[in-house]
Symmetry: C2
Subunit: 555 residues, 2 copies
């Protein structure tokens, strides 16, 4: 047995509560090494010897590991446990104190108490929901009066400085379009006052940018959306402000004597606002975006005030957090408390492109934008650089990085304003995009659609991925639209598709065919993806004796 490959720790994604009386345990072992795996468990305050036994199930595997899982019920909520592992020709005991040849009497793993206050609580409405991402300047121009000067013509190619006049009124006019598509929530990239088209360099956190509208427009938009059952999520840009933010301007003009000098990390005086800035910024030297010192209690109070104001004032349903991984955990803990106190159903979605466990333990975010998942989808569907076997393994690895409740709430996107359009990565081959969307809409989590993907828009990296929305139906790809609409309606019919329960069904790396099974309480969905680009015939047994329906064709 490869003891050194065996991993369990009573924390993170390896031991977590499902409810006030139930925990889930995961144990990882070298792939193929363990034949059977049991957990022995009991109340922490009973002596050794009386432990109950439960066999663990191998729920998935990746290239290196098998993952064994079991759910344990506890009346008293206080659990100690250890494992019994069976290999081919040997067995061993495993506890917090290490491995042993004999049943351990002490040094057991401990889940000391399932605390109600620490349970992971996601909003209820995200289960089965589909989010739509809008870059407001490019979606629809509903009010010509507020267009910024020098607007380009709708449909022209954007550059990094272009404006097109899209606004909140425009979104309002298109809510019925979104409702028709089946969208449950809109995530807007920033809308507060800022000189840029992307508005990630905020000038005034308390004002809607006048090119987009004003407080009343926003309020009206939220109301109209809510009337249609559509939630609104705004972008919180707190890692940095814009160079024209009043506090920064005052620090620049008054220098070290300014009350706001400590809101930033300015290395020397006078302040050089321009290329090669002498202050800390977003990324390397982006001088238009001075970094905010969120450890400073005054900065904290100011930003949390902003959040409080908007969440209350316009009845928001959530926040997407820009550069969330470069701000203190303690800030996000306070942030969560404030947002959830106002609206317990608000959705908190962090921008973290990598392993985000530290933010997803229940005390900070509900979810993150699932870029590691997108990477796999790009590799498998768009670029064909990994085969069905590798795709399946890597998906399993990602699912096991977080708790099952986190996985069912991750925001799965195939592209965004920060990546090339997926169809462009497919070199325009819409069959590839359509397969990827089938996969996205049947995978655990919350699918997010970047505006225009649903009608076959293309575009390379920023600024090209931020082209204006195509509204003329004859220029839209209606096949793609129909597929999106169909899949979203399927997702609404089976909201349990969001859940993390996912079973590999058929992996054929030779034909590049990949199948998986999704399970609800009473139904089961089989998905079979032919990623070969070729015609294939396949005979596969379905496990059910009941009624079988082709969900895409409705037969």
């Amino acid at each position: 047995m490869h003891k050194e490959a065996i991993y369990h720790r009573a924390e993170g994604s390896y031991a977590y509560p499902l409810s006030e009386n139930e925990i889930r345990l995961i144990l990882k072992a070298k792939r193929g090494d363990l034949k059977r795996c049991y957990v022995l468990y009991d109340d922490r305050y009973t002596g050794p010897g009386t432990e109950k036994v439960a066999e663990m199930t191998k729920v998935c595997w990746d290239t290196l590991y098998d993952y064994f899982q079991v759910d344990i019920y506890s009346d008293t909520r206080r659990i100690r446990y250890f494992f019994y592992l069976e290999g081919e020709n040997e067995h061993i005991w495993y506890a917090e104190g290490g491995f042993s040849e004999v049943r351990p009497l002490e040094g057991h793993f401990q889940y000391p108490y399932i605390c109600k206050a620490d349970l992971f609580k996601e909003p209820l409405w995200t289960k089965g929901a589909v989010i739509y991402q809008i870059f407001p300047d490019r979606f629809y121009n509903g009010d010509k009066n507020n267009d910024p000067p020098g607007c380009k013509k709708w449909g022209e190619a954007p550059d990094s400085k272009s404006f097109f006049g899209g606004d909140l009124k425009g979104v309002m006019l298109k809510l019925d379009y979104l409702k028709e598509l089946g969208i449950d929530a809109i995530y807007f990239t920033p809308i507060f006052e800022s000189p840029s088209n992307h508005k990630y360099d905020t000038t005034d956190y308390y004002r809607v940018d006048k090119a987009f509208g004003d407080l009343d427009t926003l309020r009206q938009l939220v109301d109209e959306a809510h009337q249609r059952g559509i939630k609104i999520i705004l972008d919180a840009v707190f890692n940095h402000c814009g160079k024209d933010f009043w506090a920064f301007k005052e620090a620049v003009s008054k220098g070290p004597g300014s009350r706001y000098w400590q809101w930033f990390n300015i290395y020397s005086y006078p302040v050089k606002v321009g290329p090669n800035p002498n202050y800390e910024t977003f990324a390397n030297g982006v001088y238009t975006m001075p970094k905010l010192m969120t450890y400073n209690p005054e900065v904290r109070e100011y930003l949390l005030g902003v959040i409080k104001y908007w969440t209350k004032e316009v009845n928001l349903d959530g926040w997407r957090l820009d550069v969330a991984n470069e701000i203190d955990h303690s800030f996000w803990r306070e942030f969560r408390k404030i947002v959830k106190d106002i609206n317990p159903q608000a959705f908190i979605l962090g921008e973290v492109w990598h392993d985000a466990l530290k933010w997803l333990e229940g005390d900070q975010f509900d979810s993150v934008m699932n870029y590691p998942w997108r990477d796999l989808v790009v590799k498998f569907f768009a670029k064909n650089t990994i085969d069905a076997e590798a795709f399946d393994c890597e998906l399993a690895r990602l699912r096991m990085m977080y708790t099952s409740e986190v996985v069912s709430g991750l925001v799965n996107l195939i592209d965004s304003h920060d990546t090339p359009r997926f169809l462009t990565l497919c070199k325009g081959d819409k069959r590839k995009l359509m397969l990827a969307v089938v996969f996205q809409m049947t995978y655990p989590g919350i699918p997010m659609v970047y505006y225009g993907d649903e009608i076959g828009m293309e575009g390379d990296n920023d600024p090209d991925c931020r082209r204006t929305m195509i509204w003329e139906e004859d220029k839209q790809d209606r096949d793609i639209y129909a597929l999106y609409k169909k899949l979203i309606s399927i997702r609404h019919s089976f909201p349990w598709l969001a859940n993390s329960i996912y079973r590999t069904w058929h992996v054929d790396p030779l034909k590049n065919i990949y199948g998986y099974i999704r399970e609800g309480k009473e139904e089961r969905i089989w998905v079979l993806i032919n990623n070969s680009g070729l015609y294939n015939t396949l005979k596969l047994p379905l496990e059910s004796g009941g009624k079988v329906v082709d969900l895409l064709k409705g037969e």
Copy 2:
């Protein structure tokens, strides 16, 4: 190469900041499997290819793994990194995205930003300090007027109900004794009003038990201690109260209509206060200790008020948290904020007998009572059930469970009011105890001495380990006392002994001799422990050309 044995994750004890510009990375691999190990790292916002390279050092090993470590400096505080691993005949790259044969261009590990607010900040005074634990009823009777009725005679054997009249005045009268011994802080088991001798069943959180004194006695004690440079740590018993706590009494008498009904988890009415209680308690059915529902905001506010009151009112230096692992993390986060706002140098010490990582990430506790360490010390010194090789490996495993800053602040105890006395576990063989104390006082962390250990007191499990302190010098073991005093003074001379830097020097499982090296900036201490019980001669090269002193003999 055993890829499945390689472990790193950009969190917990595997990636953590040492300062605002420095992180430490740990990588674990199968013991003996890697010949060399490098990390390649750069700013997150620079493209791939320009990474700096640093070789990692194998800092320790246990039976299964080698641990490689490196410290990385970053100007910008934003770090991405990946590893290059060399085995006997192969090499491989390792990043967040997995293993690869070629240098990975994406999917690197990320330490996105070293946030100042999230740095682990322990009190400064604990470095090099020695804590002394007192069970007040048994230490010294300084005021006969407050003795509880039916007190036993000092020196008689205690049972679970005995009282002996020890009090705060008594401790005050013995402060010079403690100062002479070299003690830096006293941790008191509970002193608030309660009907029991141990006082873990609080009746009134706002009152010192009258058998111990009153608010003024406590205030005076703290002042007197502070004058001698001795800190005071009290016991916070918040998992449960006593059955006579007013809120519980009111819930019992008024029933479900009581405002305090929800402070507890009472299953039915009427409430059965007695054996087989119908409410949730500490452990299984300890009816004298009803569990407090700390998720209830009212309970929270009440308990945090208690903490605020005492920390401020008597100028406390810290809290030991009883049954800390059965209370919500969110409670402890609020607790920390309140305590540190009043006294940033307060020490927060949790009672957690097992893996305590979840409480030691900077947002909750400063430290825990290091019972897993004690288990090893008992096995190696007292019971001789593990040899020097296993002892060394298991110590390494424990050190690598937490960050180095946590390790240097763990409270290392060889016994407590909840275990048999160490000397009793040694069957009275004081040589064994003395070796263990040499080890304790030269190991990373904060040594804690349970009252009376320093003069050779014995006692089996509770209540026997809570005998009255022996004050007659002729009944004390003065050899043991002299050794304690010597070792504490050595610890004060070399406060860096608290640091986590620890190097195995000589491991001889055959002779059962164990040596290790501790390193300060300018000095080095070699410790050699002959745990064989036999006379042994050994020739060992010392690495230094400088002056060598025998610290115990002073030669």
